[in-house]
């Protein structure tokens, strides 16, 4: 598995492929830059579908998304955040600061 998320971006209007699985997701802006990373965990109502729909309501800037179904959603979530910091020096703009986030040199 690539450590970066390499799934194809989907428009926010296309939610047909989403189900109730656990996993991680990224939101992108108009030029497909990652602006938010999230996850659907064991307590998420309707899994990825529920989380993504609810976050789209909050984040109007998000124009596309991609997701990975993953039962190791917590470690994969942290990994995606760490890779984003390694690549861009900062977290995605809509992610809250994480004081205990690790450092990677991928």
């Amino acid at each position: 598995m690539s450590i970066r998320c390499e799934k194809a971006w989907l428009p926010r209007t296309d939610l047909n492929g989403l189900y109730g699985h656990m996993g991680v997701f990224q939101f992108g802006n108009d030029v497909e830059e990652v602006i938010f990373i999230g996850y659907a965990g064991g307590r998420s109502l309707f899994g990825l579908k529920g989380e993504i729909v609810s976050e789209f309501e909050r984040l109007a800037d998000a124009s596309c998304y991609r997701f990975e179904i993953n039962t190791a959603y917590l470690t994969r979530y942290q990994e995606l955040l760490m890779i984003h910091v390694a690549d861009h020096g900062v977290l995605p703009p809509y992610n809250e600061p994480m004081p205990n986030l690790g450092r990677l040199s991928p």
């Binding site: 959603y73 917590l74 004081p99 205990n100 990677l104």
Partner: protein, 388 residues
């Protein structure tokens, strides 16, 4: 051997049991089922409580400000502290504090000032870097990371794998080969700052523990001052080995705690759940599972306490620690598996903690030395040195 608890032990066990049930378990209702940390405000509040209880920094020696607890009492506490969903790998989410890397208590004064005391104050974090891709159970042979002396420095090249916390650490203990011809007598332990040029965390490794990952490290011409050698050059194996033996007792205790909690949940459930017009508890198939749980838990507890008792009395305890690790991890796995079976479909959902315990308990038979290695250690002890 007398396994009855002293008055003080009864009091401490009762205190910790109440703490787990009243403070930890209710918080888990709102956490992700795989979470291994609390919200910062809860963590801070509960640390203040454990400090007020006089039980913070459990593994810190009294001369460094820790509570004076013998290993038997510490083991009894570890059994209690693991009796919740995250308890196997994050007992009480760490609110009882830790000692960091115990090897640093043997460090030089300058090393203690720079690494040990900041760790005890919670200002620095360390990691333990022993395992390599060539193996972890036989460090005398498996360590291929090389350190070569160059003036006042050592230049380290190589890598480590399955290392916990290196991506968040300020420093770590890195074991490297300093004499290629001397086997276990050619390994040295270095204290390495993680901001040293040439230190890289290349990737994280996802495992069955979905809230916790390991890391893979790479060292490229990483220069470490000679002053950062922990102990003596070529004597690192003893540091690694001592840690591996000591760790086996609390490791076993955690498995026992989870087994007790799983068994307790099953004991509450089976009289209520009916099949074919009668409670599950009336079925012999279920009763035998409960009996086997009881036996597994008791056997593992006695063997673990015996190892702790020997260590407390200063007697050799390597064989007993290996037996405790072996028996408790296997017994714990069986107990969780049986409880999951008794809960049926509910047992495999994230609504109950069994599926997390089931995944994490599987790792326990491999971590801290696979159980086959424990059997090898026990065989070596009972047959003598001829098996080396």
């Amino acid at each position: 051997m007398d396994f009855s608890l002293t008055e003080e032990q009864e009091m401490i066990v009762g205190m910790v049991r109440r703490f787990v049930r009243e403070e930890i378990v209710p918080l888990e209702l709102d956490l992700d089922p795989d979470a291994d940390s609390l919200k910062v405000e809860d963590q801070t509040r509960l640390v203040e409580k454990t400090k007020a209880m006089g039980l913070y920094g459990l593994d810190i020696p009294p001369e460094y400000g820790g509570p004076e607890l013998d290993l038997v009492t510490r083991t009894l506490m570890a059994i209690e502290m693991s009796q919740h969903r995250a308890g196997l790998y994050a007992p009480c989410y760490g609110v009882f504090g830790g000692a960091g890397l115990a090897q640093l208590f043997e460090a030089t004064e300058a090393q203690k000032e720079r690494y040990l005391f900041p760790t005890l104050r919670g200002e620095k974090r360390g990691f333990f870097g022993l395992t390599e891709s060539s193996g972890g159970s036989d460090p005398a042979r498996a360590i291929q990371t090389k350190a070569v002396r160059d003036g006042d420095d050592w230049v380290i090249n190589g890598g480590k794998i399955f290392i916990s916390g290196a991506d968040k650490a300020d420093f770590g203990l890195v074991f490297a080969r300093t004499d290629p011809d001397k086997g276990r007598n050619g390994v040295t332990c270095f204290i390495v700052d993680t901001d040293t040029p040439g230190f890289y965390v290349r990737r994280i490794i996802h495992t069955l523990r979905s809230a916790h990952y390991a890391t893979e490290l790479q060292f490229e011409d990483m220069r470490v001052p000679h002053a950062n050698v922990l102990g003596e050059v070529n004597r690192g194996f003893a540091i690694a080995n001592d840690r591996l033996t000591r760790q086996r007792i609390p490791y076993a205790a955690g498995c026992i705690g989870v087994a007790i909690k799983a068994h307790e949940l099953a004991l509450e459930y089976v009289p209520q759940r009916e099949t074919f017009g009668a409670p599950l508890s009336t079925r012999q198939g279920i009763q035998w599972m409960l009996v086997d749980n009881e036996i597994d838990i008791k056997q593992a507890t006695w063997m673990t306490l015996e190892a702790a008792d020997k260590a407390t009395r200063g007697e050799p305890f390597r064989k007993e620690a290996a037996m405790a690790k072996l028996v408790a991890t296997e017994a714990g796995s069986r107990v969780v598996d049986r409880c999951m079976q008794m809960f049926g479909g509910y047992g495999v959902t994230k609504d109950f903690p069994f599926e997390r315990w089931y995944r994490e308990m599987r790792i326990r038979r491999i971590g801290e030395g696979p159980n086959e290695v424990q059997r090898h250690i026990i065989a070596r002890d009972i047959l003598g040195a001829s098996l080396r």
